[in-house]
C-alpha cells in the first residue's frame, strides 16, 4: 500500500535531511515568487546602503567613532541607550548601583565586554549569540576529547 511505502521512507532517518531540504527548497521557491516584498522605510535599526562602497552591503555608513543615531522600540526602558553601559546584566546593575567597583569588573563577565562590542541596545541578543557559540564549542570539545579514550 502507498501508506506503507511512505512510512518506510519516513521511518528511515537517513531520508530526513533530503526531506527537510526539499521542504526548504519549495518554500524558497515560494519566497522567490512572492519576492517584491515592500521595504518598510521607517526602520527601527536604520542602515545605510551605499552601492558604491567596496564594503557593500556590509558598510554600516558614517565615519567611524562618531555619534550614530540609535532608535529604540521602547525608549522608556533604556534611558541610557547608546552608551557603552546601556545594558547591564542584573548582577552588574546591582554592583553599579551599590558599589564603586563596577568600572573594574565590566569586562570580567559575559554581558559586560560584549555590550561594548555589539549594538548597545539589544542586550539579551548579545548574551544569547555567544551562548550558542559556547555551547557548540563545548560539544565539539567534548567529542574531540572523547576520541582519545
Amino acid at each position: 500500500m502507498i501508506i506503507q511505502k511512505i512510512s518506510r521512507v519516513l521511518s528511515n532517518y537517513d531520508n530526513i535531511l533530503p526531506l527537510f531540504a526539499g521542504a526548504c527548497a519549495i518554500l524558497a521557491v515560494v519566497a522567490l515568487l512572492s519576492l517584491p516584498l515592500p521595504y518598510f522605510e521607517d526602520q527601527l535599526y536604520p542602515k545605510q546602503i551605499v552601492p558604491g562602497s567596496t564594503l557593500n552591503p556590509y558598510d554600516r555608513g558614517g565615519p567611524p567613532f562618531t555619534r550614530v543615531d540609535i532608535r529604540l522600540q521602547y525608549p522608556e526602558n533604556s534611558p541610557t541607550a547608546g552608551y557603552v553601559t546601556a545594558y547591564l546584566t542584573p548582577f552588574s546593575l546591582f554592583l553599579a548601583r551599590n558599589t564603586m567597583y563596577m568600572g573594574t569588573t565590566i569586562v570580567a563577565h559575559p554581558g559586560g565586554i560584549l555590550d561594548e562590542i555589539l549594538y548597545n541596545t539589544r542586550g539579551l541578543d548579545t548574551v544569547v549569540e555567544p551562548t550558542i557559540l559556547f555551547i557548540s564549542f563545548a560539544i565539539a570539545a567534548y567529542i574531540f576529547h572523547r576520541r582519545e579514550d
Partner: protein, 280 residues
C-alpha cells in the same frame, strides 16, 4: 474548583469504563462493568509500592505529579474560560508525561512505549490546524470568546466541520484501544505504563480520568457551545460512544503507518484551512 476536580476525575474514569464496555459489546464480549476503571484506580492505590532499583527515582515519581498537575491546570483553564492554546499545550505536553513514564524506569517495554510516543508526535499537528480554523472565524482563542461567538453565530461544528473532525481525530488518538494508540499496544505489555505499578499507576489513572473529562468538555465547549451541565454530560457520553465505535471497528495501525496516516490527515487539513483563508 475542588468539587469539579473530583467530579471530573471520577466521571472521566466512568466514561473510560463505558468506552471499554461499548467496545466489548460491539465485539460481542460481555466486557467489564462500566465502573471498572474507577475500581482499577482504587485497587492500584492499595497495592504495595516502591521505586524500581534501576529507575531514575526523582523523575519516576515526579512525572506522576506532573501528569496530574498539568491536567488540573487544563481543567482550571477550561472552567475559567481561558486561552484554548493553553489547553492544547497541555495536550501536547501530555506526550512528555508519556516519555517520562516510559523512559524513567529503565525497562525495555517502557522504553519502547516512550519511543513510540515520540514517533506519534504527528498526531498533534491536526490540533493546530483546527486551532487555525477556529481562529479564522472567531478572531480569538479565548474559550469564553469562542463560546460567546457561538451564541451569536451558531455552533462552530456547522461553520467549520472539518476543523471539528481534526479535533475529533485528536481525541481519538488519545483514547485507549483506538487505531492510533500505538503507545499502549499489547506487544509492549502496557507500553509506557508497564513499570508504574501500585500508587504510581493509580495516580496515572487519576490523570487519565481528568484528561478524558477535560478533552471532551473542551471539544463540546469549542464546537457546540455552552449548554446546561446535564446536557454537557450527555454530550460527552454520546461522544465517547461514537469514539468507542471507531475504536472497536478499526484495527490498530502499525506504528509508522499510524504516523503516516496522521501526517496525511494533517496535510489535508492544512490544505482545507488555506482554502478557507483564501475564500474569506
Amino acid at each position: 474548583m475542588i468539587a469539579e476536580l473530583l467530579f471530573g476525575t471520577f466521571f472521566g474514569l466512568l466514561l473510560l469504563g463505558i468506552h471499554r464496555k461499548v467496545i466489548a459489546r460491539i465485539q460481542r464480549r460481555p466486557g467489564p462493568p462500566v465502573w471498572q476503571e474507577i475500581l482499577h484506580m482504587l485497587k492500584f492505590s492499595f497495592k504495595t509500592t516502591w521505586v524500581p532499583a534501576t529507575a531514575s527515582a526523582a523523575l519516576f515519581v515526579g512525572v506522576v505529579l506532573v501528569a496530574i498537575g498539568i491536567w488540573t491546570a487544563a481543567l482550571a483553564v477550561v472552567l475559567s474560560g481561558g486561552s484554548l492554546l493553553i489547553v492544547f499545550a497541555v495536550y501536547m505536553l501530555h506526550k512528555i508525561v508519556e516519555h517520562g513514564f516510559g523512559l524513567s524506569s529503565g525497562s525495555p517495554y517502557g522504553k519502547f512505549g516512550g519511543v513510540r510516543s515520540v514517533i506519534s508526535a504527528a498526531s498533534e499537528i491536526p490540533l493546530f490546524v483546527s486551532v487555525a480554523g477556529i481562529a479564522l472565524f472567531t478572531r480569538s482563542l479565548i474559550i469564553s470568546d469562542i463560546v460567546a461567538y457561538q451564541e451569536v453565530h451558531g455552533p462552530l461544528l456547522l461553520t467549520v466541520p472539518l476543523a471539528g473532525l481534526a479535533m475529533y481525530l485528536v481525541l481519538l488518538s488519545k483514547m485507549p484501544f483506538g487505531p492510533f494508540s500505538i503507545v499502549e499496544s499489547k506487544e509492549l505489555v502496557s507500553g509506557y505504563k508497564t513499570e508504574h505499578f501500585g500508587v504510581w499507576r493509580a495516580g496515572l489513572e487519576v490523570c487519565n480520568g481528568l484528561k478524558t473529562y477535560v478533552l471532551l468538555t473542551t471539544f463540546l465547549l469549542v464546537f457546540v457551545g455552552t449548554m446546561p451541565f446535564l446536557f454537557l454530560l450527555v454530550g460527552m457520553l454520546v461522544l465517547v460512544v461514537s469514539l468507542s465505535f471507531v475504536c472497536a471497528l478499526c484495527p490498530m495501525l502499525s506504528p509508522y503507518d499510524s504516523v503516516t496516516v496522521q501526517t496525511i490527515i494533517a496535510g489535508l487539513m492544512l490544505a482545507y484551512v488555506s482554502i478557507l483563508v483564501v475564500v474569506s
